[in-house]
Symmetry: C2
Subunit: 303 residues, 2 copies
Amino acid sequence: MRFEVTILGSNSATPLFGRHHTAQILNCNEIVSLIDCGEGTQLQLQRYGIKANRIKYIFISHLHGDHYLGLVGLISSMHLNGRKEDLHVFGPEGLKEIIDLQLHYSETSLRYKLVVQTTSPHTAETILSDANFEVMTFPLSHRINCTGFLFREKQRLPRINKDAIAALNIPTPYYPLLKRGIDYTDNEGKVHRAADLTTPAPVPRSYAFCSDTVNIKSYWPYIEKVDLLYHEATFLHDMLERAVETFHTTALQAAEIAKAVGARKLVIGHFSARYKDLQPLLDESRTVFSNTELAIEGETFEI
Amino acid sequence: MRFEVTILGSNSATPLFGRHHTAQILNCNEIVSLIDCGEGTQLQLQRYGIKANRIKYIFISHLHGDHYLGLVGLISSMHLNGRKEDLHVFGPEGLKEIIDLQLHYSETSLRYKLVVQTTSPHTAETILSDANFEVMTFPLSHRINCTGFLFREKQRLPRINKDAIAALNIPTPYYPLLKRGIDYTDNEGKVHRAADLTTPAPVPRSYAFCSDTVNIKSYWPYIEKVDLLYHEATFLHDMLERAVETFHTTALQAAEIAKAVGARKLVIGHFSARYKDLQPLLDESRTVFSNTELAIEGETFEI
Protein backbone atom coordinates (compact mmCIF):
# COMPACT_ATOMS: atom_id res chain seq x y z
CA MET A 1 0.00 0.00 0.00
CA ARG A 2 1.36 3.37 -0.94
CA PHE A 3 2.19 5.59 2.03
CA GLU A 4 4.47 8.46 1.15
CA VAL A 5 5.00 12.17 1.60
CA THR A 6 6.08 14.70 -1.04
CA ILE A 7 7.67 18.00 -0.04
CA LEU A 8 6.20 21.10 -1.74
CA GLY A 9 7.74 23.78 0.47
CA SER A 10 10.65 23.78 2.88
CA ASN A 11 11.44 27.32 3.95
CA SER A 12 10.46 29.21 7.06
CA ALA A 13 9.05 32.72 7.40
CA THR A 14 10.27 34.26 4.13
CA PRO A 15 10.63 32.31 0.88
CA LEU A 16 14.09 32.46 -0.71
CA PHE A 17 16.61 30.57 -2.87
CA GLY A 18 13.74 28.97 -4.79
CA ARG A 19 12.43 27.46 -1.56
CA HIS A 20 8.77 27.92 -0.71
CA HIS A 21 6.61 28.05 2.37
CA THR A 22 5.59 24.85 4.15
CA ALA A 23 3.34 22.39 2.31
CA GLN A 24 3.44 18.62 1.95
CA ILE A 25 1.36 16.04 0.11
CA LEU A 26 0.64 12.79 1.89
CA ASN A 27 -0.55 9.88 -0.21
CA CYS A 28 -2.02 7.02 1.78
CA ASN A 29 -3.32 4.32 -0.53
CA GLU A 30 -4.26 6.98 -3.12
CA ILE A 31 -6.13 9.10 -0.60
CA VAL A 32 -4.37 12.46 -0.91
CA SER A 33 -3.95 14.90 1.97
CA LEU A 34 -2.27 18.28 2.08
CA ILE A 35 -0.38 19.23 5.22
CA ASP A 36 0.00 22.98 5.64
CA CYS A 37 -0.54 25.27 2.69
CA GLY A 38 1.86 28.18 2.45
CA GLU A 39 1.51 30.87 -0.20
CA GLY A 40 2.09 29.47 -3.67
CA THR A 41 1.11 25.89 -2.81
CA GLN A 42 -1.19 25.70 -5.84
CA LEU A 43 1.75 26.65 -8.03
CA GLN A 44 3.93 24.01 -6.40
CA LEU A 45 1.23 21.39 -6.98
CA GLN A 46 1.30 22.30 -10.66
CA ARG A 47 5.08 22.18 -10.76
CA TYR A 48 5.11 18.62 -9.48
CA GLY A 49 2.10 17.47 -11.52
CA ILE A 50 -0.23 16.87 -8.59
CA LYS A 51 -3.89 17.53 -9.31
CA ALA A 52 -5.30 19.81 -6.61
CA ASN A 53 -8.73 18.26 -6.90
CA ARG A 54 -7.34 14.90 -5.78
CA ILE A 55 -6.80 16.41 -2.32
CA LYS A 56 -9.43 15.14 0.08
CA TYR A 57 -8.12 16.45 3.39
CA ILE A 58 -6.14 19.54 4.35
CA PHE A 59 -4.41 19.86 7.71
CA ILE A 60 -3.21 23.27 8.92
CA SER A 61 -0.81 23.32 11.87
CA HIS A 62 -1.13 26.99 12.84
CA LEU A 63 -2.04 30.44 11.60
CA HIS A 64 1.34 31.92 10.82
CA GLY A 65 1.14 33.04 7.22
CA ASP A 66 3.90 30.76 5.96
CA HIS A 67 1.74 27.75 6.86
CA TYR A 68 -1.67 28.68 5.46
CA LEU A 69 -1.73 31.73 3.17
CA GLY A 70 -2.11 29.55 0.08
CA LEU A 71 -5.31 28.00 1.37
CA VAL A 72 -7.98 30.43 0.18
CA GLY A 73 -6.41 30.57 -3.28
CA LEU A 74 -6.36 26.80 -3.45
CA ILE A 75 -9.97 26.54 -2.27
CA SER A 76 -10.98 29.08 -4.95
CA SER A 77 -9.06 27.33 -7.70
CA MET A 78 -10.66 23.99 -6.79
CA HIS A 79 -14.02 25.76 -7.18
CA LEU A 80 -13.07 27.29 -10.53
CA ASN A 81 -11.74 23.95 -11.74
CA GLY A 82 -15.11 22.29 -11.18
CA ARG A 83 -14.58 20.41 -7.94
CA LYS A 84 -17.69 18.59 -6.77
CA GLU A 85 -16.35 16.42 -3.93
CA ASP A 86 -16.39 17.57 -0.32
CA LEU A 87 -13.19 19.07 1.04
CA HIS A 88 -12.31 18.63 4.69
CA VAL A 89 -10.02 21.17 6.30
CA PHE A 90 -8.67 20.76 9.83
CA GLY A 91 -7.03 23.70 11.53
CA PRO A 92 -6.90 26.03 14.52
CA GLU A 93 -9.57 28.34 15.79
CA GLY A 94 -9.83 31.32 13.48
CA LEU A 95 -9.21 29.45 10.26
CA LYS A 96 -12.91 29.07 9.45
CA GLU A 97 -13.51 32.74 10.20
CA ILE A 98 -10.68 33.77 7.88
CA ILE A 99 -11.88 31.54 5.03
CA ASP A 100 -15.51 32.62 5.44
CA LEU A 101 -14.61 36.31 5.48
CA GLN A 102 -12.60 36.04 2.27
CA LEU A 103 -15.27 34.01 0.48
CA HIS A 104 -17.83 36.55 1.68
CA TYR A 105 -16.03 39.52 0.16
CA SER A 106 -15.29 37.71 -3.09
CA GLU A 107 -18.98 36.71 -3.16
CA THR A 108 -17.99 33.12 -3.83
CA SER A 109 -20.49 30.30 -3.34
CA LEU A 110 -18.40 27.18 -3.57
CA ARG A 111 -19.71 24.46 -5.86
CA TYR A 112 -18.54 21.84 -3.41
CA LYS A 113 -19.02 21.33 0.29
CA LEU A 114 -16.23 22.75 2.43
CA VAL A 115 -16.07 21.41 5.96
CA VAL A 116 -13.72 23.24 8.30
CA GLN A 117 -13.11 21.48 11.59
CA THR A 118 -11.35 23.27 14.44
CA THR A 119 -8.49 21.47 16.15
CA SER A 120 -7.78 21.74 19.84
CA PRO A 121 -4.62 23.63 20.78
CA HIS A 122 -4.28 22.00 24.19
CA THR A 123 -5.38 18.37 23.90
CA ALA A 124 -4.24 15.50 21.74
CA GLU A 125 -7.15 14.06 19.83
CA THR A 126 -8.02 11.79 16.93
CA ILE A 127 -9.55 14.09 14.34
CA LEU A 128 -10.03 11.71 11.42
CA SER A 129 -10.54 8.04 10.79
CA ASP A 130 -10.49 7.19 7.09
CA ALA A 131 -10.67 3.69 5.60
CA ASN A 132 -6.91 3.19 5.66
CA PHE A 133 -5.50 5.64 8.17
CA GLU A 134 -6.27 7.83 11.10
CA VAL A 135 -5.01 11.22 12.07
CA MET A 136 -4.24 12.56 15.51
CA THR A 137 -3.28 16.07 16.53
CA PHE A 138 -1.07 16.90 19.47
CA PRO A 139 -0.04 20.26 20.92
CA LEU A 140 3.34 21.71 19.98
CA SER A 141 4.87 24.71 21.71
CA HIS A 142 5.16 27.69 19.41
CA ARG A 143 4.57 31.43 19.68
CA ILE A 144 0.92 30.87 18.83
CA ASN A 145 -1.26 27.76 19.10
CA CYS A 146 0.22 25.05 16.92
CA THR A 147 -0.50 21.35 16.54
CA GLY A 148 1.50 18.46 15.20
CA PHE A 149 -0.16 15.69 13.20
CA LEU A 150 0.34 11.96 13.45
CA PHE A 151 -0.83 9.89 10.48
CA ARG A 152 -1.07 6.19 11.19
CA GLU A 153 -2.13 3.36 8.92
CA LYS A 154 -4.90 1.26 10.36
CA GLN A 155 -4.06 -2.29 11.37
CA ARG A 156 -5.05 -4.41 8.42
CA LEU A 157 -6.35 -7.98 8.60
CA PRO A 158 -4.04 -10.94 8.04
CA ARG A 159 -3.79 -12.30 4.50
CA ILE A 160 -4.85 -15.78 3.43
CA ASN A 161 -1.81 -18.00 3.02
CA LYS A 162 -2.53 -19.60 -0.34
CA ASP A 163 0.03 -22.33 0.11
CA ALA A 164 -1.41 -23.33 3.46
CA ILE A 165 -5.00 -23.57 2.25
CA ALA A 166 -4.21 -25.12 -1.15
CA ALA A 167 -5.01 -28.71 -0.17
CA LEU A 168 -7.94 -27.96 2.12
CA ASN A 169 -10.55 -26.87 -0.41
CA ILE A 170 -12.01 -24.26 1.94
CA PRO A 171 -15.05 -22.45 0.46
CA THR A 172 -14.19 -18.80 -0.28
CA PRO A 173 -16.95 -17.39 2.01
CA TYR A 174 -14.82 -18.65 4.90
CA TYR A 175 -11.83 -16.50 3.90
CA PRO A 176 -13.05 -13.32 5.63
CA LEU A 177 -13.67 -15.37 8.79
CA LEU A 178 -10.14 -16.78 8.72
CA LYS A 179 -8.79 -13.23 8.34
CA ARG A 180 -10.73 -12.29 11.44
CA GLY A 181 -9.12 -15.17 13.35
CA ILE A 182 -12.00 -17.64 13.29
CA ASP A 183 -10.74 -21.24 12.92
CA TYR A 184 -12.07 -23.48 10.16
CA THR A 185 -13.57 -26.86 10.94
CA ASP A 186 -13.69 -29.22 7.95
CA ASN A 187 -16.33 -31.85 7.11
CA GLU A 188 -14.48 -34.47 9.14
CA GLY A 189 -14.53 -32.23 12.23
CA LYS A 190 -10.86 -31.40 12.08
CA VAL A 191 -10.08 -27.88 13.28
CA HIS A 192 -7.64 -25.83 11.22
CA ARG A 193 -6.33 -22.84 13.16
CA ALA A 194 -6.83 -19.49 11.46
CA ALA A 195 -3.34 -18.46 12.53
CA ASP A 196 -1.88 -21.37 10.52
CA LEU A 197 -3.81 -20.49 7.37
CA THR A 198 -3.01 -16.76 7.30
CA THR A 199 0.05 -14.53 7.33
CA PRO A 200 0.00 -11.47 9.57
CA ALA A 201 -0.61 -8.08 7.97
CA PRO A 202 2.33 -5.68 7.99
CA VAL A 203 2.79 -3.57 11.09
CA PRO A 204 1.00 -0.22 10.53
CA ARG A 205 3.32 2.58 9.52
CA SER A 206 3.15 6.11 10.87
CA TYR A 207 4.20 9.62 9.86
CA ALA A 208 4.54 12.53 12.25
CA PHE A 209 4.56 16.16 11.15
CA CYS A 210 6.06 18.56 13.68
CA SER A 211 6.12 22.09 12.36
CA ASP A 212 7.15 25.09 14.36
CA THR A 213 7.91 24.16 17.92
CA VAL A 214 10.49 24.81 20.53
CA ASN A 215 12.23 21.69 21.85
CA ILE A 216 9.99 20.47 24.65
CA LYS A 217 9.33 16.89 25.73
CA SER A 218 5.58 17.16 26.13
CA TYR A 219 4.81 15.96 22.57
CA TRP A 220 7.38 13.18 22.45
CA PRO A 221 4.94 10.46 23.60
CA TYR A 222 2.78 11.10 20.52
CA ILE A 223 5.60 10.51 18.06
CA GLU A 224 7.20 7.53 19.74
CA LYS A 225 8.59 4.90 17.35
CA VAL A 226 7.23 6.76 14.34
CA ASP A 227 8.47 5.45 11.01
CA LEU A 228 9.06 8.83 9.49
CA LEU A 229 9.40 11.99 11.52
CA TYR A 230 9.25 15.35 9.80
CA HIS A 231 10.58 17.89 12.23
CA GLU A 232 11.32 21.54 11.76
CA ALA A 233 14.99 22.49 12.05
CA THR A 234 14.93 26.19 11.41
CA PHE A 235 18.45 26.91 12.67
CA LEU A 236 21.88 25.41 13.20
CA HIS A 237 22.65 24.78 16.85
CA ASP A 238 24.95 27.81 17.10
CA MET A 239 21.73 29.82 16.83
CA LEU A 240 20.13 28.02 19.81
CA GLU A 241 19.35 31.25 21.62
CA ARG A 242 17.50 32.61 18.59
CA ALA A 243 15.71 29.27 18.18
CA VAL A 244 14.43 29.36 21.75
CA GLU A 245 13.47 33.03 21.48
CA THR A 246 11.39 32.36 18.35
CA PHE A 247 10.02 29.00 19.54
CA HIS A 248 11.93 26.99 16.96
CA THR A 249 14.23 23.98 16.93
CA THR A 250 17.81 23.48 15.77
CA ALA A 251 18.97 20.68 13.46
CA LEU A 252 20.84 19.11 16.37
CA GLN A 253 17.75 19.16 18.56
CA ALA A 254 15.58 17.65 15.82
CA ALA A 255 18.08 14.78 15.63
CA GLU A 256 18.09 14.36 19.40
CA ILE A 257 14.29 14.20 19.38
CA ALA A 258 14.27 11.61 16.57
CA LYS A 259 16.77 9.53 18.55
CA ALA A 260 14.92 9.91 21.84
CA VAL A 261 11.55 8.86 20.42
CA GLY A 262 13.05 5.98 18.42
CA ALA A 263 12.02 7.28 15.00
CA ARG A 264 13.15 5.16 12.07
CA LYS A 265 13.92 8.09 9.80
CA LEU A 266 14.03 11.88 10.14
CA VAL A 267 13.32 14.56 7.53
CA ILE A 268 14.22 18.11 8.56
CA GLY A 269 12.76 21.27 7.04
CA HIS A 270 11.42 24.78 7.66
CA PHE A 271 14.84 26.21 6.94
CA SER A 272 15.67 29.77 7.84
CA ALA A 273 16.22 32.11 4.90
CA ARG A 274 19.70 32.76 6.34
CA TYR A 275 20.90 29.39 4.98
CA LYS A 276 21.46 29.24 1.26
CA ASP A 277 23.40 26.00 1.63
CA LEU A 278 21.50 23.38 3.63
CA GLN A 279 24.31 20.83 3.89
CA PRO A 280 25.50 22.11 7.31
CA LEU A 281 22.02 21.51 8.73
CA LEU A 282 22.05 17.95 7.39
CA ASP A 283 25.58 17.33 8.63
CA GLU A 284 24.73 18.63 12.08
CA SER A 285 21.66 16.43 12.37
CA ARG A 286 23.52 13.34 11.16
CA THR A 287 26.10 13.67 13.93
CA VAL A 288 23.32 12.51 16.26
CA PHE A 289 20.85 10.73 13.97
CA SER A 290 22.44 9.32 10.84
CA ASN A 291 19.18 8.49 9.05
CA THR A 292 18.32 12.15 8.43
CA GLU A 293 17.33 13.67 5.11
CA LEU A 294 16.63 17.24 4.02
CA ALA A 295 13.08 18.23 3.03
CA ILE A 296 14.04 19.04 -0.56
CA GLU A 297 11.11 20.34 -2.60
CA GLY A 298 9.79 17.81 -5.08
CA GLU A 299 11.26 14.84 -3.22
CA THR A 300 9.05 11.99 -2.10
CA PHE A 301 9.79 9.95 1.00
CA GLU A 302 8.30 6.50 1.43
CA ILE A 303 7.13 5.92 4.96
CA MET B 1 11.74 61.25 -15.08
CA ARG B 2 11.23 57.53 -14.87
CA PHE B 3 7.61 56.49 -15.28
CA GLU B 4 7.24 52.81 -16.10
CA VAL B 5 5.29 49.70 -15.25
CA THR B 6 6.65 46.16 -14.81
CA ILE B 7 4.37 43.15 -15.16
CA LEU B 8 4.64 40.58 -12.34
CA GLY B 9 1.51 38.54 -13.12
CA SER B 10 -0.68 38.24 -16.18
CA ASN B 11 -3.12 35.38 -15.72
CA SER B 12 -6.73 35.41 -14.65
CA ALA B 13 -8.50 33.22 -12.09
CA THR B 14 -6.16 30.22 -12.06
CA PRO B 15 -2.40 30.44 -12.57
CA LEU B 16 -1.01 28.26 -15.38
CA PHE B 17 1.73 27.97 -18.00
CA GLY B 18 4.15 29.77 -15.69
CA ARG B 19 1.82 32.77 -15.61
CA HIS B 20 0.87 34.25 -12.27
CA HIS B 21 -1.97 36.22 -10.80
CA THR B 22 -2.27 39.94 -11.39
CA ALA B 23 0.43 42.22 -9.97
CA GLN B 24 2.30 45.17 -11.43
CA ILE B 25 5.06 47.47 -10.20
CA LEU B 26 4.78 51.13 -11.09
CA ASN B 27 7.90 53.23 -10.76
CA CYS B 28 7.27 56.97 -10.86
CA ASN B 29 10.49 58.88 -10.31
CA GLU B 30 11.74 56.10 -7.99
CA ILE B 31 8.56 56.08 -5.92
CA VAL B 32 7.47 52.44 -6.19
CA SER B 33 3.83 51.34 -6.14
CA LEU B 34 2.34 47.88 -6.40
CA ILE B 35 -0.92 47.48 -8.30
CA ASP B 36 -2.86 44.38 -7.28
CA CYS B 37 -1.12 41.62 -5.42
CA GLY B 38 -2.11 38.10 -6.44
CA GLU B 39 -0.81 35.04 -4.65
CA GLY B 40 2.93 34.65 -5.12
CA THR B 41 3.63 38.33 -5.72
CA GLN B 42 6.47 38.32 -3.18
CA LEU B 43 8.08 35.46 -5.12
CA GLN B 44 7.68 37.36 -8.39
CA LEU B 45 9.29 40.43 -6.82
CA GLN B 46 12.27 38.26 -5.90
CA ARG B 47 12.40 36.73 -9.36
CA TYR B 48 12.70 40.15 -10.96
CA GLY B 49 15.04 41.59 -8.34
CA ILE B 50 12.63 44.18 -6.95
CA LYS B 51 13.03 44.87 -3.25
CA ALA B 52 9.63 44.60 -1.56
CA ASN B 53 10.53 47.21 1.01
CA ARG B 54 10.89 49.82 -1.73
CA ILE B 55 7.13 49.66 -2.23
CA LYS B 56 5.46 52.72 -0.72
CA TYR B 57 1.90 52.34 -2.00
CA ILE B 58 -0.25 49.33 -2.79
CA PHE B 59 -3.44 49.60 -4.82
CA ILE B 60 -5.95 46.73 -4.82
CA SER B 61 -8.66 46.80 -7.50
CA HIS B 62 -11.07 44.27 -5.97
CA LEU B 63 -11.36 41.33 -3.62
CA HIS B 64 -11.27 38.39 -5.98
CA GLY B 65 -8.45 36.19 -4.75
CA ASP B 66 -6.37 36.46 -7.91
CA HIS B 67 -5.94 40.18 -7.25
CA TYR B 68 -5.05 40.32 -3.57
CA LEU B 69 -4.23 36.97 -1.95
CA GLY B 70 -0.51 37.74 -1.91
CA LEU B 71 -1.04 40.85 0.19
CA VAL B 72 -0.96 39.51 3.75
CA GLY B 73 2.12 37.41 2.97
CA LEU B 74 3.84 40.46 1.52
CA ILE B 75 2.88 42.62 4.50
CA SER B 76 4.26 39.93 6.84
CA SER B 77 7.49 39.53 4.90
CA MET B 78 8.04 43.30 4.94
CA HIS B 79 7.67 43.11 8.72
CA LEU B 80 10.09 40.17 9.01
CA ASN B 81 12.57 41.92 6.75
CA GLY B 82 12.75 44.90 9.07
CA ARG B 83 10.59 47.47 7.34
CA LYS B 84 10.28 50.71 9.27
CA GLU B 85 8.59 53.00 6.73
CA ASP B 86 4.84 53.46 6.59
CA LEU B 87 2.97 51.40 4.02
CA HIS B 88 -0.18 52.78 2.42
CA VAL B 89 -2.70 50.33 1.02
CA PHE B 90 -5.74 51.42 -0.96
CA GLY B 91 -8.51 48.94 -1.61
CA PRO B 92 -12.18 48.09 -1.37
CA GLU B 93 -14.30 47.79 1.71
CA GLY B 94 -13.43 44.56 3.49
CA LEU B 95 -9.72 44.64 2.76
CA LYS B 96 -8.83 46.19 6.11
CA GLU B 97 -11.03 43.68 7.92
CA ILE B 98 -9.34 40.77 6.14
CA ILE B 99 -5.82 42.04 6.88
CA ASP B 100 -6.64 42.82 10.51
CA LEU B 101 -8.20 39.39 11.09
CA GLN B 102 -5.18 37.57 9.70
CA LEU B 103 -2.71 39.68 11.67
CA HIS B 104 -4.85 39.10 14.76
CA TYR B 105 -4.70 35.31 14.51
CA SER B 106 -1.01 35.27 13.70
CA GLU B 107 -0.51 37.61 16.68
CA THR B 108 1.59 39.90 14.54
CA SER B 109 2.31 43.46 15.66
CA LEU B 110 3.80 45.11 12.63
CA ARG B 111 7.02 47.03 13.19
CA TYR B 112 5.86 49.65 10.71
CA LYS B 113 2.72 51.67 10.31
CA LEU B 114 0.18 50.15 7.94
CA VAL B 115 -2.48 52.52 6.68
CA VAL B 116 -5.37 50.91 4.83
CA GLN B 117 -7.64 53.36 3.04
CA THR B 118 -10.97 52.22 1.64
CA THR B 119 -11.79 53.15 -1.94
CA SER B 120 -15.26 54.04 -3.12
CA PRO B 121 -16.90 51.50 -5.45
CA HIS B 122 -19.31 54.00 -6.97
CA THR B 123 -17.56 57.35 -7.29
CA ALA B 124 -14.40 58.41 -9.07
CA GLU B 125 -12.05 60.11 -6.63
CA THR B 126 -8.49 61.26 -6.21
CA ILE B 127 -7.08 59.02 -3.49
CA LEU B 128 -3.45 60.09 -3.46
CA SER B 129 -1.35 63.08 -4.29
CA ASP B 130 2.37 62.39 -4.02
CA ALA B 131 5.17 64.78 -4.94
CA ASN B 132 5.32 63.65 -8.57
CA PHE B 133 2.03 61.97 -9.34
CA GLU B 134 -1.55 61.60 -8.31
CA VAL B 135 -3.84 58.62 -8.32
CA MET B 136 -7.51 58.49 -9.11
CA THR B 137 -9.91 55.56 -8.80
CA PHE B 138 -12.93 55.07 -11.01
CA PRO B 139 -15.65 52.40 -10.91
CA LEU B 140 -15.39 49.45 -13.26
CA SER B 141 -18.22 46.99 -13.82
CA HIS B 142 -17.36 43.54 -12.54
CA ARG B 143 -19.15 40.78 -10.63
CA ILE B 144 -18.12 42.47 -7.38
CA ASN B 145 -17.08 46.04 -6.64
CA CYS B 146 -13.96 46.84 -8.63
CA THR B 147 -12.10 50.06 -9.32
CA GLY B 148 -9.69 51.09 -12.01
CA PHE B 149 -6.73 53.32 -11.22
CA LEU B 150 -5.41 56.30 -13.13
CA PHE B 151 -1.85 57.37 -12.35
CA ARG B 152 -0.97 60.80 -13.65
CA GLU B 153 2.26 62.72 -13.40
CA LYS B 154 1.80 66.16 -11.95
CA GLN B 155 2.30 69.10 -14.23
CA ARG B 156 5.87 70.17 -13.68
CA LEU B 157 7.13 73.73 -13.92
CA PRO B 158 8.82 75.00 -17.07
CA ARG B 159 12.59 74.70 -17.21
CA ILE B 160 14.97 77.66 -17.44
CA ASN B 161 16.24 78.06 -20.98
CA LYS B 162 19.96 78.48 -20.34
CA ASP B 163 20.68 79.79 -23.82
CA ALA B 164 18.02 82.47 -23.52
CA ILE B 165 19.20 83.77 -20.15
CA ALA B 166 22.92 83.47 -20.84
CA ALA B 167 23.48 87.14 -21.70
CA LEU B 168 21.06 88.61 -19.15
CA ASN B 169 22.94 87.89 -15.97
CA ILE B 170 19.76 87.20 -14.00
CA PRO B 171 20.40 86.47 -10.32
CA THR B 172 19.58 82.82 -9.52
CA PRO B 173 16.93 83.69 -6.87
CA TYR B 174 14.77 84.87 -9.80
CA TYR B 175 14.83 81.43 -11.50
CA PRO B 176 11.95 79.96 -9.45
CA LEU B 177 9.91 83.07 -10.22
CA LEU B 178 10.54 82.69 -13.95
CA LYS B 179 9.45 79.04 -13.72
CA ARG B 180 6.23 80.24 -12.15
CA GLY B 181 5.64 82.62 -15.07
CA ILE B 182 6.70 85.88 -13.43
CA ASP B 183 8.48 88.14 -15.89
CA TYR B 184 11.92 89.57 -15.11
CA THR B 185 12.57 93.30 -15.20
CA ASP B 186 16.24 94.21 -15.51
CA ASN B 187 18.05 97.18 -14.01
CA GLU B 188 17.27 99.28 -17.07
CA GLY B 189 13.56 98.60 -16.67
CA LYS B 190 13.36 96.29 -19.61
CA VAL B 191 10.85 93.48 -19.17
CA HIS B 192 11.91 89.98 -20.21
CA ARG B 193 8.95 87.69 -20.55
CA ALA B 194 9.13 84.49 -18.52
CA ALA B 195 7.73 82.55 -21.45
CA ASP B 196 10.74 83.60 -23.54
CA LEU B 197 13.27 82.54 -20.89
CA THR B 198 11.85 79.09 -20.14
CA THR B 199 10.92 75.96 -22.03
CA PRO B 200 7.63 74.28 -21.19
CA ALA B 201 7.76 71.15 -19.04
CA PRO B 202 6.78 67.93 -20.76
CA VAL B 203 3.09 67.16 -20.91
CA PRO B 204 2.24 64.97 -17.89
CA ARG B 205 2.03 61.29 -18.75
CA SER B 206 -0.64 58.96 -17.47
CA TYR B 207 -1.18 55.26 -16.92
CA ALA B 208 -4.56 53.60 -16.53
CA PHE B 209 -5.05 50.18 -14.98
CA CYS B 210 -8.37 48.53 -15.86
CA SER B 211 -8.61 45.10 -14.32
CA ASP B 212 -11.69 42.93 -14.46
CA THR B 213 -14.54 44.74 -16.13
CA VAL B 214 -17.19 44.10 -18.66
CA ASN B 215 -17.10 46.44 -21.66
CA ILE B 216 -19.13 49.45 -20.58
CA LYS B 217 -18.65 53.09 -21.53
CA SER B 218 -19.11 54.59 -18.08
CA TYR B 219 -15.38 54.55 -17.25
CA TRP B 220 -14.12 55.72 -20.62
CA PRO B 221 -14.04 59.42 -19.63
CA TYR B 222 -11.51 58.64 -16.91
CA ILE B 223 -9.03 57.03 -19.26
CA GLU B 224 -9.32 59.45 -22.14
CA LYS B 225 -6.04 60.13 -23.98
CA VAL B 226 -4.09 58.04 -21.52
CA ASP B 227 -0.51 57.35 -22.59
CA LEU B 228 -0.52 53.73 -21.56
CA LEU B 229 -3.68 51.74 -21.03
CA TYR B 230 -3.49 48.39 -19.31
CA HIS B 231 -6.76 46.64 -19.97
CA GLU B 232 -7.85 43.14 -19.17
CA ALA B 233 -8.50 40.94 -22.18
CA THR B 234 -9.45 37.66 -20.61
CA PHE B 235 -10.90 36.06 -23.74
CA LEU B 236 -10.77 36.06 -27.50
CA HIS B 237 -13.83 37.64 -29.08
CA ASP B 238 -15.32 34.26 -30.04
CA MET B 239 -15.89 33.85 -26.28
CA LEU B 240 -17.85 37.12 -26.04
CA GLU B 241 -20.83 35.47 -24.41
CA ARG B 242 -18.64 33.97 -21.70
CA ALA B 243 -16.88 37.33 -21.29
CA VAL B 244 -20.17 39.14 -20.69
CA GLU B 245 -21.45 36.41 -18.39
CA THR B 246 -18.31 36.65 -16.21
CA PHE B 247 -18.00 40.46 -16.47
CA HIS B 248 -14.84 40.36 -18.52
CA THR B 249 -13.55 41.85 -21.76
CA THR B 250 -12.31 40.33 -25.01
CA ALA B 251 -9.04 41.28 -26.72
CA LEU B 252 -11.04 42.89 -29.51
CA GLN B 253 -13.06 44.98 -27.07
CA ALA B 254 -9.94 46.10 -25.23
CA ALA B 255 -8.58 47.35 -28.54
CA GLU B 256 -11.83 49.12 -29.37
CA ILE B 257 -11.76 50.84 -25.98
CA ALA B 258 -8.13 51.91 -26.48
CA LYS B 259 -9.07 53.35 -29.86
CA ALA B 260 -12.24 55.05 -28.61
CA VAL B 261 -10.50 56.81 -25.71
CA GLY B 262 -7.48 57.77 -27.82
CA ALA B 263 -4.89 55.87 -25.80
CA ARG B 264 -1.35 56.02 -27.11
CA LYS B 265 -0.50 52.43 -26.30
CA LEU B 266 -2.38 49.37 -25.02
CA VAL B 267 -1.11 46.47 -22.91
CA ILE B 268 -3.52 43.55 -22.56
CA GLY B 269 -3.45 40.99 -19.77
CA HIS B 270 -5.44 38.88 -17.30
CA PHE B 271 -5.39 36.01 -19.74
CA SER B 272 -7.69 33.05 -19.29
CA ALA B 273 -5.97 29.79 -18.40
CA ARG B 274 -7.56 28.33 -21.55
CA TYR B 275 -4.93 30.09 -23.68
CA LYS B 276 -1.49 28.58 -23.62
CA ASP B 277 -0.49 30.58 -26.66
CA LEU B 278 -1.20 34.30 -26.29
CA GLN B 279 -0.39 35.32 -29.85
CA PRO B 280 -4.04 35.05 -31.05
CA LEU B 281 -5.08 37.55 -28.35
CA LEU B 282 -2.39 39.96 -29.49
CA ASP B 283 -3.28 39.47 -33.16
CA GLU B 284 -6.96 40.05 -32.49
CA SER B 285 -6.30 43.26 -30.59
CA ARG B 286 -3.93 44.58 -33.24
CA THR B 287 -6.57 44.28 -35.93
CA VAL B 288 -8.23 47.29 -34.27
CA PHE B 289 -5.39 48.92 -32.32
CA SER B 290 -1.97 48.24 -33.73
CA ASN B 291 0.01 49.62 -30.80
CA THR B 292 -0.93 46.74 -28.53
CA GLU B 293 1.47 44.63 -26.47
CA LEU B 294 0.98 41.56 -24.28
CA ALA B 295 1.48 41.85 -20.52
CA ILE B 296 4.41 39.43 -20.45
CA GLU B 297 5.73 38.83 -16.95
CA GLY B 298 9.03 40.53 -16.29
CA GLU B 299 8.56 43.07 -19.09
CA THR B 300 8.73 46.77 -18.36
CA PHE B 301 6.74 49.32 -20.33
CA GLU B 302 7.78 52.94 -20.37
CA ILE B 303 4.81 55.25 -20.12
